[in-house]
């Protein structure tokens, strides 16, 4: 991979010395197409950003990607089913919730991949346990204490100029970036962060007290991130896109700013919720999806302006879908499998996997047709170009949905 006579490290050093204005993503992909580690083996496209969207609370998959061609769907949900004529139809069988209509341009330009029936065997219905399973890529009965992304970065560390593995926006926690040696920056407001970080001095001290060790580590992360972000944000191009003034809109605006500033991280996580719609689902679900779709539209516009849309992969996830039948409170209870989405300039739009049957249920729940770890494998192998990382006990082949 060193055909151009420059190894990755030298190149990056040289790049670091250049004025930041030259570091536009347009030319970065070519030069940074692959990475080499110390041993000289290829370790992937590390400059590519993964934007995670946690649909917190368990998003109702059936009212997100709607099987409007199925009579059973309408029978199971007399109150909550979306009438056929309101569905944003993608195919004769499936369509999006009307609140997701801003995503139609994504679909038409083939930048939206819909993954059917994502879940795992022996599903757990607890919010806390199920999101832990998703975050750690464990089997249903297996308890792991590090996030799946932490394990990826442990095995294939990021090059030295990355100041952290991930940035977490909004009120969510680090989830898949939790544990191990992963450095995560929780950021509510970058301006405020930088202003306050000035007063934090890093201290080196060996301690056996895990609580103190944690605080010292967080201080170190703050200092490193602040000194790095400072310069980048100052020189980043201004965004001219208006983002919706709600929580997810603000998070995606910060995400776009960070990408414009070339924040040296591999993952940004945002959270939308709560999707835990046990009662009075229709209005809440509509609002949450509409906010999300409008914010994503603004985000895509900003990325296209920056020329970064091909370097970002947007991925949704949630602890579970919801039960097929509605409950008596005009809501839905905790379910199992649900559709999820990839979006981005390199996504090969379309449907992947088989839709779960609405007739062949397990205790009123959908049976998953795609293991969620196949979605992760897609990110690891086809987005970052890394070798497969073992996730759980089975084999989960990556999906061919990225160009």
């Amino acid at each position: 991979m060193n055909g151009n006579g420059l190894d990755r490290r030298t190149l990056l050093k040289a790049a670091a010395a250049l004025p930041l204005v030259l570091l536009r993503p347009q030319w970065l992909p070519e030069l940074r197409a692959a990475d080499t580690n110390e041993a000289g083996t290829r370790v992937g496209n590390r400059e590519r950003m993964l934007l995670l969207i946690e649909l917190h609370g368990g998003n109702d998959g059936l009212n997100t990607l709607i099987p409007y061609g199925e009579e059973v769907y309408y029978r199971a949900r007399p109150q909550l089913a979306i009438p056929r004529d309101q569905v944003c139809q993608l195919t004769p069988q499936f369509g999006l919730h009307p609140a997701l209509s801003p995503l139609i341009p994504f679909w038409e330009s083939r930048e939206l991949a819909c993954l059917h029936g994502v879940g795992y065997p022996r599903p757990n219905h607890s919010h806390f346990r199920s999101i832990e399973i998703w975050e750690t890529a464990s089997d249903s009965e297996q308890v792991l204490d590090t996030g799946w992304l932490s394990r990826v970065f442990e095995r294939y560390p990021l090059p030295a100029q990355f100041t952290a593995e991930g940035i977490v926006l909004g009120n969510g926690d680090s989830g898949p970036l939790n544990g191990g040696k992963t450095r995560t920056i929780a950021l509510h407001d970058p301006g405020r962060f930088l202003q306050q970080a000035g007063s934090v001095r890093p201290a080196s001290l060996a301690t056996k007290n895990p609580a103190l060790a944690h605080i010292l580590e967080v201080r170190r992360e703050i200092s490193l991130a602040a000194s790095d972000l400072q310069g980048r944000i100052r020189q980043a191009p201004l965004l001219t896109v208006d983002f919706p003034a709600n929580k997810i809109g603000k998070q995606l605006e910060v995400a776009a700013k960070l990408i414009a500033a070339q924040a040296p991280v591999a993952v940004i996580k945002v959270t939308q919720g709560s999707f835990d719609t046990h009662a009075g689902q229709s209005a809440t679900h509509h609002r949450l999806l509409e906010e999300l779709a409008q914010s994503l539209t603004a985000f895509r516009t900003a990325m296209k302006q920056l020329g970064s849309w091909k370097d970002v992969l947007v991925m949704t996830y949630s602890e579970f879908g919801r039960r097929v039948g509605e409950n008596a409170s005009h809501g839905t209870d905790h379910g199992t499998a649900a559709p999820h989405f990839f979006m981005g300039g390199r996504v090969k739009g379309g449907f992947y996997g088989a839709p779960p049957s609405l007739r062949d249920l397990q205790d009123g729940d959908l049976k998953h047709t795609l293991d969620y770890r196949a979605v992760y494998a897609t990110v690891i192998e086809n987005w970052w170009g890394l070798p497969a990382v073992p996730l759980g006990t089975g084999r989960y082949p990556a999906l061919d949905c990225l160009a």
Partner: protein, 440 residues
């Protein structure tokens, strides 16, 4: 044997919101048993701060709301928001001034265990009533508390018992009852949840009276099988059956161990304490007494190993520095930024706590909050020393020897040692901003 300064300090940092040198010295006159006994000798189970005026108000009925104009709706929602703030301010005042800090700590602990939120319940009087209930049994009987909380208006709404009907059971409450309130994940089956949900059908809040009621028309009186036993159970039976499970005591004891001792419960001790808790019919005060007398509670290696919650940090700092109490709205806003909005936990599991309290974002906000508190920016005082000298409660910062000030503020030596002959205001500032101040 009477306590050392460090032991007395440790005791107050875990059972109260810390203590001034004077308060620490008072505890030093006692031995362990007497200190524990004194902390638990609480002659009341009610808050002393006068409650807001609206605590008995009932929410307007749907048929009334239906006819509201846009403007009326808006006024109503603004009123709810203001009442919610007033409710939070009320509890802060009690936390800041209570003579029985252990009672408030336990009330807060139960709030994080039997969670409900303004966000979902949308009626501040119900949250107030729940808080009163939690304090009433905070050190009483877990059995009584569990039964009462299951019928508590805020809880009936928070976990959708309200819409749990025979025709369409809603499992939200029964799931969290087992998973978070009593047993913990892995100690029940999905079938147990489904069957238990049926037993709670018909339980609801009567909006005309604000009282709990069972509507037999919506109650499923059929046979249910829970934990392998079968019968035409109703909700109360499910709670009794649950309390027969030895796992309940283990679960509660383990959680209290993490609150009071360390985040690594000793499984043998937990088993022993749980056994006694069960045999003494789930008396919480008795359990706390046993727990606080464990050698592990007093062990030097367990001092300063827990991270203060935002509320502990704010309330503790205010009490220790004798800061003015008026500005509760400011405190509410800061605590929210630090990740702990009273009466609005993030979800039914409550605040995750532990090391999760400290992220890059919240650590910066903690530092800033302390910096301002010390410098007096938010209290109207131009200089920190003015705050320190204010009133007899804050005088110790200026008058005690610096070694005593350090040993009072921190559980062990600071990361950054004090320089000799440092000016006092500077020294206090440095100690409070030291990472060790975040620990208890």
């Amino acid at each position: 044997m009477s306590l050392t300064f460090d032991e007395a300090r440790h005791f107050l940092s875990r059972t109260a919101f810390g203590g001034t040198p004077e308060e620490i010295r008072r505890v030093m006159q006692l031995d362990r048993a007497a200190a524990v006994e004194q902390a638990l000798a609480i002659p009341t189970n009610k808050a002393q701060t006068a409650p807001p005026a609206w605590i008995h108000r009932l929410p307007p009925l749907p048929r009334v709301r239906k006819h509201w104009s846009q403007a009326q709706r808006k006024t109503f929602h603004e009123g709810l928001k203001a009442d919610g703030q007033e409710l939070k301010a009320w509890w802060y005042r009690e936390l800041l001034s209570s003579r029985y800090p252990l009672l408030e700590r336990m009330t807060l602990w139960w709030h994080n265990h039997f969670t409900s939120s303004l966000h979902k319940v949308k009626w501040p009087p119900f949250l107030y009533q729940q808080n009163v209930l939690l304090r009433l049994y905070a050190l009483g009987s877990f059995r009584t508390l569990l039964n009462a909380i299951s019928k508590n208006p805020a809880m009936l709404l928070y976990l959708d018992t309200q819409s749990n009907r025979k025709e369409h059971p809603n499992e939200n409450f029964s799931r969290e009852l087992f998973e978070l309130f009593t047993l913990g994940e892995g100690h029940y089956t999905e079938q147990d949840i489904k069957e238990a949900a049926r037993a709670f059908t018909g339980w609801h809040l009567d909006f005309h009276t604000g009282a709990f009621r069972v509507d037999l028309r919506h109650h499923d009186d059929g046979r249910k099988v829970v934990f392998g036993k079968s019968g035409p159970f109703e909700g109360g039976d499910i709670l009794s059956l649950t309390l027969e499970q030895p796992q309940v005591a283990r679960y509660i004891v383990g959680k209290l161990w993490r609150e009071f001792i360390s985040d690594r419960p000793d499984s043998l001790e937990v088993e022993r304490l749980a056994d006694a808790f069960r045999k003494k019919n789930y008396e919480i005060a008795g359990l706390l007494q046993d727990l606080l007398l464990r050698p592990q509670f007093w062990a030097p290696e367990n001092r300063g190993v827990l991270i203060k919650s935002p509320v502990e940090l704010i309330v503790g700092t205010t009490r220790l520095f004798n800061l003015p109490l008026e500005d509760t709205l400011q405190r509410i806003a800061i605590a929210r930024r630090l990740g702990q909005d009273l009466f609005d936990p993030p979800n039914v599991k409550g605040w995750p706590g532990g090391t999760r309290w400290i992220t890059t974002s919240t650590l910066l906000d903690r530092t800033q909050m302390l910096h301002r508190a010390i410098r007096g920016h938010e209290t109207g005082h131009a200089h920190g020393m003015a705050v320190m000298g204010q009133g007899p409660g804050g005088l110790w910062l200026a008058t005690e020897p610096i070694e005593v000030v350090q040993a009072t503020l921190l559980p062990f030596s600071p990361v950054q040692s004090l320089m000799e002959a440092e000016e006092r205001g500077q020294a206090v500032h440095q100690l409070v901003l030291d990472p060790v101040y975040q620990l208890k």
